[in-house]
């Protein structure tokens, strides 16, 4: 049984489709990349799994199975219990994802699994684990004294501290300074390796996917275009869109080649194909 199994999930925004019959499987200890341009629906997929969709976006079909349990069939209370125990989110914007009026330790302590004996010690242990300097002092302070990178580290600590089975990282480095992006990325991979959780890595950046993911799902216009193992997709992209996306991504091994934007004609053809689906 897979850790996460999304079965032909469809979402609608007041009648307009947002996701169309999306399938996705994530195994335990796997890093699964989900790539696509803005509007591809990749973030919505993450929000649907976490059950934090905006008010006017509704599930119009399909199932989301976590270890075999369909989350969509659960009552709200049971689903919240699942969320708390098994799922966690590393958000996109660390600046607005920490409550400015609560201390770091308060926001970390509340995610610790039930039966944690000494929350204070545990919080500091986690802050140390994500390599935040002078963790004891940081734990007592409010978010505004931390830099963006430090806040994202604290949020990563919060995501893993609940000992979840699946972590969803929604563009976790996009809002960060270029200089700290790499550190944060390494940290996420390291934490994933240590804890052995499944990680869904949502991004627009194929480069990042190539670096850390085991498998990749390419999305466009609310559908899955291609799913493959990471090395296969990078080396032998099957779908024309994946090829075009790859051609538009700078690659360190092929320095200073001209980058090709995704051809408009291709997008138009895909939209036309989507229309009759």
């Amino acid at each position: 049984m897979s850790l996460l199994q999304v079965d032909s999930l469809s979402l609608g925004l007041r009648g307009a489709p947002v996701l169309r019959k999306v399938n996705l499987t994530i195994e335990a200890s796997e890093i699964a990349g989900v790539v696509g341009e803005s509007g591809a629906g990749k973030s919505m997929l993450g929000k649907a799994i976490l059950g934090v969709l905006p008010r006017d976006v509704t599930v119009t079909g399909g199932a989301i199975r976590l270890n075999g349990t369909d989350l969509l069939a659960l009552r709200p209370r049971a689903r919240r219990a699942f969320l708390k125990r098994d799922l966690a989110l590393i958000p996109q914007d660390p600046l607005s994802a920490l409550n400015p009026c609560r201390t770091i330790s308060a926001q970390l302590a509340e995610v610790l699994p039930k039966g944690t004996t000494d929350a204070k010690v545990e919080v500091i242990r986690w802050l140390d684990a994500v390599r935040i300097p002078s963790a004891t002092k940081v734990a007592k302070s409010f978010p505004h004294v931390l830099s963006g990178g430090m806040r994202q580290r604290a949020l990563i600590a919060a995501a893993f501290a609940s000992r979840p089975k699946l972590v969803i990282a929604d563009e976790p480095t996009t809002a960060l300074d270029v200089t700290v992006q790499k550190d944060v990325l390494h940290l996420i991979r390291e934490m994933q390796r240590e804890t052995g959780v499944g990680l869904m890595f949502v991004t627009h950046d194929l480069c990042l996917v190539a670096k850390i993911c085991h498998s990749v799902t390419v999305m466009h216009g609310g559908r899955v275009i291609e799913q493959a193992a990471c090395t296969d997709l990078i080396n032998r992209p099957a779908h024309a869109y994946s090829q075009a996306l790859l051609a538009a991504t700078p690659r360190p091994d092929q320095a200073r080649q001209g980058l090709e934007p995704v051809p408009t004609a291709l997008i138009e053809r895909m939209v036309a194909e989507a229309g009759d689906g």
Partner: protein, 308 residues
């Protein structure tokens, strides 16, 4: 963030979807209708008082003291009248017709309300615009005056000022305007300050506009929607303050047909004749709500940002 998400998030922020937007539009239309009806009725009563009012509002009749409204009047013989509907809303403790006093009171309310709002708006807009546009010591002086003004309880200040200036119609109007000009000044100053920092003012300066012409052509149209709303609010406030001054027996010499005088009198005899106070209070409530509704609706229709 995908475009679909940002779209839906923005909608979500307002509290939810198109349903609420549609109802905002509908509510604005309702406000317009209600405000228009209330203001229309007030104006008609004020303009045509002598023709509508069944009696002389100051004429007392000791045989008709505290007569209940027509539909509650089951003792015509006691009052010695044949048709209860000759005094539709009853009489007060001096036997004066409540309906007629109400109608003539509307006339005074309109006079006080509109003159106060005009005076306060004029003073506030001029001083606020000066402070906002020129800044520096002019702004300092005007802002300081506004601060001092605001640190007095307005009701106490108006009572003291009316005691000082005497209880004539003119002095009541002047006092309320003198107290309330700050409301306009603050809004206009803040808005002019904000507009002044925008590029189009510089553009107007470069193309050779003089300061007053820039103020009138470029800045005021932007402040206008808010000013109109405030103007309507101010009429309501002025009518209320006049009532308050009458209530503490400091307004237009008592006996005149004002709502405030009726309410003050009605409060004294409330246990014998509740209707003396009930009708002017009702008229005042409807007037204030009508003016507020009209102001809000107009702002909605005039302000391009709110309409979006």
């Amino acid at each position: 963030m995908s475009s679909v998400e940002s779209l839906s998030l923005e909608k979500g922020r307002g509290g939810g979807g198109t349903g609420l937007e549609r109802s905002t539009e509908k509510i604005s239309r309702l406000r317009m209708v209600f405000g228009g009806a209330a203001i229309g009725a007030l104006l008609i009563a004020a303009l045509f008082a002598p023709w509508i009012a069944p009696h002389d509002p100051t004429l007392d009749d000791l045989f008709l003291i505290n007569m209940p409204p027509a539909w509650l009047n089951d003792d015509l013989a006691y009052f010695g009248i044949e048709n209860a509907w000759a005094y539709p809303l009853g009489t007060d403790s001096l036997g004066r017709d409540v309906a007629s006093r109400l109608i003539y009171g509307a006339r005074l309310a309109v006079i006080v309300g509109v003159s106060v709002a005009c005076l306060a708006a004029l003073a506030g807009v001029v001083l606020g615009a000066l402070a906002g546009f020129y800044g520096g010591w002019i702004d300092n002086v005007i802002s300081r005056i506004v601060d001092v003004w605001l640190s007095f309880p307005p009701v106490l200040l108006s009572i003291i000022l009316v005691a000082m200036l005497g209880t004539t119609l003119t002095s009541v109007i002047i006092v309320v305007a003198v107290i309330d000009w700050t409301r306009f000044a603050r809004v206009v100053r803040a808005d002019v300050l904000q507009q002044r920092s925008r590029d189009y003012i510089d553009a107007a300066r470069i193309t050779g506009g003089s300061d007053p012409s820039i103020l009138i052509r470029e800045v005021l149209p932007n402040v206008l929607p808010l000013l109109i709303t405030l103007f309507f609010f101010e009429i309501g406030i002025a009518v209320t303050v006049e009532t308050i001054l009458s209530f503490v027996s400091l307004s237009v010499s008592s006996g005149a047909a004002t709502w405030g005088d009726m309410i003050a009198e009605g409060r004294r005899v409330i246990n014998e004749a509740w209707w003396v106070m009930a009708f002017p209070v009702g008229a005042l409530v409807i007037t204030i709500l009508g003016l507020n509704a009209m102001g809000d609706a107009l702002r909605f229709y005039l302000d391009p940002v709110l309409r979006k």
